[in-house]
């Protein structure tokens, strides 16, 4: 009896240990591939064996799998699949032993996921970084300074804004994947019905006496007169608010070089005196008035507000063209240069390839990054993602950017594209900006809020000093 108890007990412990081990091991090994199965396809290809590239390339090389933390985007995943397959063919199959495993996260989770990966010492080679976050990652030593690996000539293949987005304290931290710039998009049917003629080359202007307000008032439709318009004349983001779109009006109320226009001190750490200038407050006040006093803007717009017929005009990047084609093929839209106060501006929105400081495959990762950011690599991204390329020469070959309205966006970008505020604490700033703007949208005292949040932003930057 005693023996039996012991045998059962030991057997139980062994079985439970095996179960635990099985559960743990499975989770650890399966997690990365489960994120984005499509991304694994190139890895499944026979690396060097299939290459018809001569003796040298046929040399037995250890397969190298690069881990790439990136945003979850089905179209982009397809682009990378094809790009990796092409990369394996270049230089007579020199990189045919390299494949990529993706760890794809939704946009909101990407930043925390990168932080977690770094903290847990996870093997990461490549990081897809949003433009303003490049400086944050650089300051924290998460990505490598690649200045020594890119010549001046190579840097000139991209727009200066993209290079600026990736530059921190003189170092170049990652070539760009794509860019973006905002335009004023509008529904042609609503504009025609209101009898309005839009000159695409002439921007509307903000302010109570600006040219935009009468247009938006005319476009606002409240057929049943219940005080709740069926169509709002104007929309800029919402119901969540971000620096990328909602800071622009305030910055345009300054002239280049002024605190209002630059948005933050040169070291990126002081907001008081930049965020809360009189011009900025004037612009934020007008933003709020568009909701309440003039009633031309919704405080809680639904997704795809303009395409769904809820607003007549809205500010966005040219991704809207793809959404219109895919989901609203019957809706006709057009674009004009975005509105401004004193100085025209669109805030640039680049994405970059950053090489992790912990990579054990620097040579392979660098080779891939160079290829991905080259004109050839950019072609794959454009093919699937249809987003504004950061490569100057490649852009010149894309027919869509030679014709209106995308040509207008490209021209506007070149002339007026400006990086979002340059600060290693951009993430903290953006979180606070969202809260600030929500409070503004909720009807708070604009001047008080602006001053308070400038202070909070300064406090959040203290750790970088």
């Amino acid at each position: 009896m005693k023996k039996n108890i012991w045998i059962y007990a030991i057997a139980l412990v062994v079985v439970m240990s095996m179960v635990l081990a099985a559960c743990g091991g499975g989770a650890a090994t399966e997690a990365p591939s489960a994120e984005e199965p499509a991304g694994e396809e190139p890895a499944a290809e026979e690396p060097a064996g299939e290459e018809p590239s001569g003796e040298e390339a046929m040399e037995e090389k250890e397969p190298v799998v690069l881990t790439f933390i990136k945003i979850a985007d089905e179209l982009e995943a397809q682009a990378f699949d094809e790009m990796v397959a092409a990369f394996q063919q270049i230089e007579d199959g020199k990189w045919s032993h390299v494949s990529i495993e993706y760890d794809a996260k939704p946009f909101a989770e990407l930043f925390p996921a990168i932080e977690t990966s770094v903290a847990t010492g996870a093997k990461v080679d490549l990081i897809q970084a949003d433009g303003p976050d490049v400086k944050h990652f650089a300051w924290n030593g998460v990505i490598q300074d690649l200045s020594d690996y890119f010549t001046e000539e190579e840097l000139q293949q991209w727009f200066p804004q993209s290079v600026e987005d990736a530059t921190y304290e003189g170092g170049f931290y990652g070539p760009p994947e794509v860019q973006s710039c905002q335009m004023l998009w509008y529904r042609t049917d609503y504009v025609e019905a209101a009898g309005i003629e839009i000159d695409p080359d002439v921007s509307l202007t903000y302010g109570p006496d600006g040219t935009g307000l009468p247009v938006w008032q005319k476009l606002t439709v409240d057929e049943d007169g219940d005080g709740n318009p069926e169509v709002f004349g104007f929309q800029n983001n919402g119901p969540f608010w971000f620096d990328y779109l909602n800071r622009i009006p305030a910055r345009t109320n300054g002239v280049p070089g002024s605190p209002t226009y630059e948005g933050v001190s040169e070291d990126g750490l002081t907001h008081t005196g930049y965020f809360d200038t009189d011009e900025a407050i004037e612009a934020y006040q007008f933003d709020q008035d568009l909701f309440y006093e003039y009633g031309v803007r919704s405080i809680e717009p639904p997704p795809n507000a303009m395409l769904a017929g809820f607003s007549a005009m809205f500010i966005n990047q040219d991704l809207v063209v793809g959404i219109q084609r895919d989901q609203f093929p019957d809706v006709e839209i057009d674009a004009a240069a975005p509105p401004y106060w004193q100085t025209p501006m669109c805030q640039t929105g680049s994405w970059h390839y950053g090489i992790s400081t912990t990579t054990e495959h620097f040579e392979e990762t660098l080779a891939f990054v160079k290829y991905a950011s080259s004109d050839e690599g950019a072609a794959f991204i454009w093919k699937y993602k249809n987003q504004f390329p950061a490569n100057i020469n490649f852009l010149a070959t894309v027919e869509e950017y030679q014709t209106y309205p995308r040509s207008l966006m490209a021209e506007f970008f070149v002339e007026f594209g400006k990086s979002r505020i340059v600060s290693p604490g951009y993430t903290e700033y953006n979180a606070l900006f969202g809260q600030f703007y929500q409070a503004l949208v909720s009807g708070g005292d604009v001047e008080e809020l602006t001053r308070e949040y400038a202070q909070l932003m300064d406090e959040a930057m203290a750790k970088y000093k």
Partner: protein, 306 residues
């Protein structure tokens, strides 16, 4: 001598029993060992790690930087007004949600405990929100409560009432989140309370009827006292859950300062502001608050048992 011989078998029996009991305990211990390992690895170790981290300036990207002792704790109570306001928001949520969970749970349980046709379906309907994803539910509620295109406001307007800003108004956002959470969670309390009601012997009600008690009096003087332990369980679980609310705030009102509850604030400090050391200190403070509350509630339960 006689004494000695009479003692021998007694000692022997005691030893046998003790051995048997020890083996029994050992086997029992082995059965719970996996759960203990799970707790140790996934609960106690992270807790100990958080306590240690709270004493350091630490960020996920830069690691441990500087030992700061209890500075983070001092900062939380003396210099961080947002921490205080997030605690107030949390308390607002707890005080709003927990009593409503108990009252509504009791009412729905009384209703769902009836033996009528269709009650199985009713119980299922009440419980369905519990098993649905809070993320999905939050998105759907966000659409329903939208000021301009939401179903709720269309209904209000149809009834001649003004449209409401459920999620964008600083004053309405918290009651709205409490309401959504209540809808989502109350089914769990109902199931616990229905199970409790099923355990009350019919004799108590029969005796109350004989004494002339009406329906309300039977509920007040029989059902509620007999459900005391279940109600206490529901209140403890609801309180702990309410203090840790995160998903509806993250999904529906992440930028509303009035809705910034403590767990969301901790998340923001740790992951967005890169202050994981400070976030850990806030987590430890929250842990202590919850420990204190749990001990208090359990003590109350025990004292009523006596």
């Amino acid at each position: 001598m006689a004494t000695t011989t009479s003692n021998i078998p007694r000692v022997g029996r005691q030893r046998w029993w003790q051995k048997y009991r020890n083996q029994y305990i050992l086997v029992g211990f082995l059965f719970v060992l996996p759960a203990l390992i799970n707790f140790a690895v996934f609960r106690y170790y992270p807790m100990a790690w958080a306590v240690n981290t709270s004493l350091w300036r630490y960020s996920l990207l830069r690691g441990f930087q500087e030992f700061v002792g209890i500075d983070h704790y001092i900062r939380a109570f003396t210099a961080d007004t947002q921490f205080i306001s997030s605690m107030k928001a949390t308390l607002y949520y707890v005080l709003g949600k927990v009593p409503l969970t108990i009252i509504l749970g009791l009412a729905l349980a009384s209703f769902a405990n009836q033996e009528r046709r269709g009650m199985g379906l009713m119980r299922a309907l009440i419980f369905i929100p519990v098993v649905t994803s809070f993320v999905v539910v939050s998105i759907v509620w966000g659409m329903v409560l939208n000021r301009d295109v939401g179903l709720m406001n269309a209904t209000l307007q149809g009834l001649g009432l003004p449209r409401m800003e459920f999620l964008t108004s600083p004053t309405n956002v918290m009651p709205t989140i409490i309401g959504i959470s209540l809808w989502k969670d109350v089914g769990y309390s109902v199931i616990i309370l229905v199970a409790g009601m099923r355990g009350i012997a019919q004799e108590f009600y029969d005796a109350a009827v004989v004494d002339g008690a009406n329906a309300w009096q039977r509920f007040r003087y029989v059902t509620v006292p007999m459900l005391r332990r279940h109600l206490m369980f529901v209140s403890v679980i609801s309180t702990l859950g309410a203090f840790q609310v995160f998903v509806p705030v993250y999904q529906l009102a992440p930028q509303q300062r009035n809705a910034q509850v403590i767990v969301y604030y901790i998340y923001q400090k740790g992951f967005i502001f890169g202050e994981m050391g400070y976030a850990s200190a806030l987590s430890v403070i929250l842990l202590l608050i919850l420990l204190f509350l749990s001990i208090f509630q359990i003590r109350v339960l025990r004292s009523e048992d006596v």
